[in-house]
Symmetry: C2
Subunit: 229 residues, 2 copies
Amino acid sequence: MPAARRSTFKRTPRTTGRRAPDRMRYQREAVYAILDEALVCHMGFVDGDGQPYVIPTLCARIEDELFLHGSAASRALRTMTSGLRVCVTATLVDGIILARSAFFHSINYRSAVVIGTATAITDPDEKLEALRLFTDHLVAPGRFNEVRPPSRTEFKGTMIARMAIEEASAKTRTGPPGDLEEDLDRDVWAGVIPLELKASAGVPAPDLRKGVPMPAYAANYDLKRARRS
Amino acid sequence: MPAARRSTFKRTPRTTGRRAPDRMRYQREAVYAILDEALVCHMGFVDGDGQPYVIPTLCARIEDELFLHGSAASRALRTMTSGLRVCVTATLVDGIILARSAFFHSINYRSAVVIGTATAITDPDEKLEALRLFTDHLVAPGRFNEVRPPSRTEFKGTMIARMAIEEASAKTRTGPPGDLEEDLDRDVWAGVIPLELKASAGVPAPDLRKGVPMPAYAANYDLKRARRS
């Protein structure tokens, strides 16, 4: 854990964006907002042969730690927690930028990159608490307490890795196209096509017991809320 | 280039999923459908110190190659094309699975992992063609011809990397929760919350020339169409 919580991440060569510095964000809250909205992150790790892998997984941020969820049998999570430096990235896509020139076509997005080491949670109490927080983060606060808790086998079969968020940065592009002055008069449409991940109303399982009502968090799942428990 | 186009990718230790074999897909068309729907992929590469990075970028598949787009000054793309083995992953999130037990909570998703080496396109004709295909893939067929082509400086400042899709697999989860028989009678809601990336109608740039109509591809952008040009 960091000795003191700072509002801004220290810029390191690994997390400092050099090419488009105006798009970089080093504030802890900017990074956290992206991690909180993302359901899935991409874990990057290297195997013994130097081959990098990028594997999607469920993620949840709790305080200054990032939690990654998977099977205890997963090669990805086992390699992720072997003590090597890893990278975890979350990306949200917000729009497509149509400019008057090919060059300025782009997308609006928000991404967060976290670098460090991850460890598997082994203490049973800590792991149960992490599982609870994880389920509540994915669905809604309180969900874990409504469902059957993990059996001994399920508990053993699940791995939760934790990673201190010590080295991180965010990169964002927002707003309209950034065309050159000399292109503004061109006879071509320019603007943004907004994109958004949207949830629709829950679809009951075909074998759902009759009479079980759909909870509000399934009828109106809100992807934009801070999904922290 | 592969000597002959096969409909199924050869399973290698790098792309074979062992933990949930029923979720793995090795058909070329299954991998391609995911790459085609994804606007953004995550590139994984390793720096000289063995540190892996995961960086989002625009991607486009054209035939049996994956194209990655970025700035020629981008450390990520320069490292990606340095001859080392890399990994590119695209993930689409389709839903949240609410089960009767904590353990079977999950998400519905489709992901594709491509492994290999990438090279920067240097031949000017080939690069211009790749830029055209890329813009058309991002927006709609024909867009490139409607806008100002890249200037000499812009052309030099853009890098497009290509990667032969030779080693790849897809992983998907679909359908309702997979609860245990013994949990079906529990008094808790179970089902799927469908998620989908959606586009809304284009928002004209504030400085758009008066009288330029919004094209159909901006008014009704279709993320689900095969975005191939």
